[in-house]
């Protein structure tokens, strides 16, 4: 397996005719961690939903070398862990255990394996002993961590996260940044948190109005004040 993401000339039009993506292409190498930034409505979330085939339109998406098609969806979805922005969307089960077990259960694993994976995933996000907690009663930071655990339990090669630090207090944000730093997976993270981008990601992709307007080193992006201002971004 080579844990790559290849997107070639991806286009997507909303049912009302509005273009959300106008020919997006990029390549992410195995183990690389890339930030995806851009103003609201630029197409970040839409792009992310294409990476595991929830949305499909024109263009080509290859994940781990496999083309996203109807018959490869199962395989694709077990190799790409997609973490949604609002943990209340991601955590739909009554308890933390049920939610983290959901993915492995649908992979058809035997019961002992499912339990072991839940254990491991909760340990990875430092929430040992949270199994029986009710999702609704968790704090924002805890919900984010559980949301990440729900995809880690599927042992994905690639993690795709939509605004992971949105709505977190500084301490929860800090521990989330450490978590993202320590996770070994190939990563694409959409965010408005520019300080985090500068700290964590060597490479940044800027998207605006459905097009990629910058793809390169974070460092040189941060010094390019004109480009940042043009797309409504601020240097840290």
């Amino acid at each position: 397996m080579h844990h790559t993401i290849e997107v070639r000339d991806l286009q997507f039009t909303y049912p009302d005719g509005r273009a959300a993506l106008r020919g997006v292409s990029f390549y992410i190498a195995p183990g690389e961690k890339v930030a995806l930034v851009g103003p609201n409505g630029a197409g970040k979330s839409t792009l992310m939903l294409h990476l595991n085939g929830i949305l499909r339109d024109r263009g080509e998406v290859r994940v781990c070398g496999t083309l996203v098609e109807e018959h490869t969806l199962g395989e694709i979805r077990s190799s790409v862990g997609l973490v949604f922005q609002d943990p209340d969307d991601q955590l739909f089960s009554p308890t933390v255990f049920d939610d983290v077990a959901f993915g492995p259960l649908y992979m058809g694993l035997p019961e002992a394996d499912v339990r072991a994976r839940v254990q491991r995933a909760l340990e990875a996000v430092e929430l040992r002993g949270y199994s029986d907690r009710v999702c609704h009663h968790l704090s924002g930071g805890e919900k984010k961590r559980v949301a990440i655990a729900t995809v880690l339990s599927m042992d994905p090669e690639i993690l795709v996260l939509d605004e992971p630090t949105a709505g977190l207090d500084p301490r929860a944000r800090r521990s989330l940044i450490h978590l993202l730093h320590d996770l070994p997976q190939t990563m694409l993270v959409s965010t408005h948190d520019i300080p985090m981008v500068a700290e964590l990601f060597e490479r940044t992709v800027v998207i605006d109005e459905g097009e990629i307007v910058y793809d390169g080193s974070t460092q040189s992006l941060m010094t390019n004040r004109d480009l940042l201002a043009q797309h409504g971004l601020e240097a840290p």
Binding site: L82, F84, D86, T95, E111, H136, V151
Partner: protein, 261 residues
């Protein structure tokens, strides 16, 4: 702010709390069935069922009056049967002074029996939810071959009820914050207020639909294929079987007494 109001489960390490949820579900269901099938006016049988309930409540260590205190919330529903004593034919034993409405004896017996049945049934349900966690109850329903779609619908309802309630509270706060009034201006009409409330309900509905789409996408992302699956969380032990059989036998006591006499 979060809603905790429907979390009825009380943590208490008691015998009933530790029983297999399937046993508790079947026992409560059997109890409600038995109470509903008890003929009108068999007061000794109602008293027997009430004693059973008190015994079960005693075992939970929640306090003997736990279910009684909580049962008053459903009393208004009994009002639906309030017409029964007046409409049933039979010997009139009392008339409302001034209105001349007669209360018949069979009508009164029927009314009191309905009261007893519903009161006991509600207490059984209250006890069940107090000693069983909601997710265990769902699991028990599923493993007793209750339709999976229904079980997961109940589960989603329970999960998102709080989220929606929080959302509604936030919307109401936002409206209250903007409901300023210039001194001397006329108060808005009730119709106008009704329209504003209607618009809020509508937008809450739209938000719920949008959320359901996102939740579904999250489910698909983790391999959901339209089939609900779950793990076994409980195994029937000796004491679960014994409890189940004991409850079953106790519930048929009134029937067999009636048969022997």
């Amino acid at each position: 702010m979060h809603y905790h109001l429907t979390d009825l489960y009380r943590l208490q390490p008691s015998f009933l709390h530790r029983l297999d949820p399937r046993v508790k579900l079947l026992a409560a269901f059997g109890y409600i069935l038995a109470v509903s099938l008890t003929p009108e006016g068999t007061w000794w049988a109602f008293a027997f069922f009430f004693l059973l309930l008190l015994l079960a409540t005693f075992l939970t260590r929640l306090g003997i009056f736990f279910t009684i205190r909580r049962s008053f919330i459903v009393l208004p529903f009994v009002l639906a049967a309030l017409a029964v004593p007046f409409t049933s034919p039979g010997q009139v034993i009392w008339r409302i002074p001034g209105l001349n409405w007669g209360v018949s004896e069979p009508g009164l017996i029927r009314f009191l029996s309905i009261l007893a049945r519903s009161w006991l049934a509600v207490q059984a349900a209250i006890l069940l939810t107090a000693v069983t966690q909601f997710q265990d109850l769902l699991w028990a329903l599923g493993s007793l071959r209750f339709p999976r779609v229904l079980v997961s619908t109940i589960g989603f309802m329970y999960r998102y009820l709080f989220v929606l309630a929080d959302e509604a509270t936030r919307m109401m706060r936002a409206r209250a914050s903007r409901s300023a009034r210039v001194p001397g201006s006329r108060r808005r009409s009730l119709l106008w207020q009704g329209k504003a409330a209607g618009a809020m309900v509508g937008s809450l509905f739209l938000r719920a639909i949008e959320r359901s789409e996102r939740v579904y996408a999250a489910m698909l992302s983790r391999g959901y294929d339209g089939q609900m699956r779950s793990l076994t969380h409980f195994h029937m032990r000796a004491k679960d079987w014994i409890s189940l059989v004991t409850v079953g036998l106790l519930l048929i006591v009134p029937l067999s007494v009636d048969w022997m006499v």
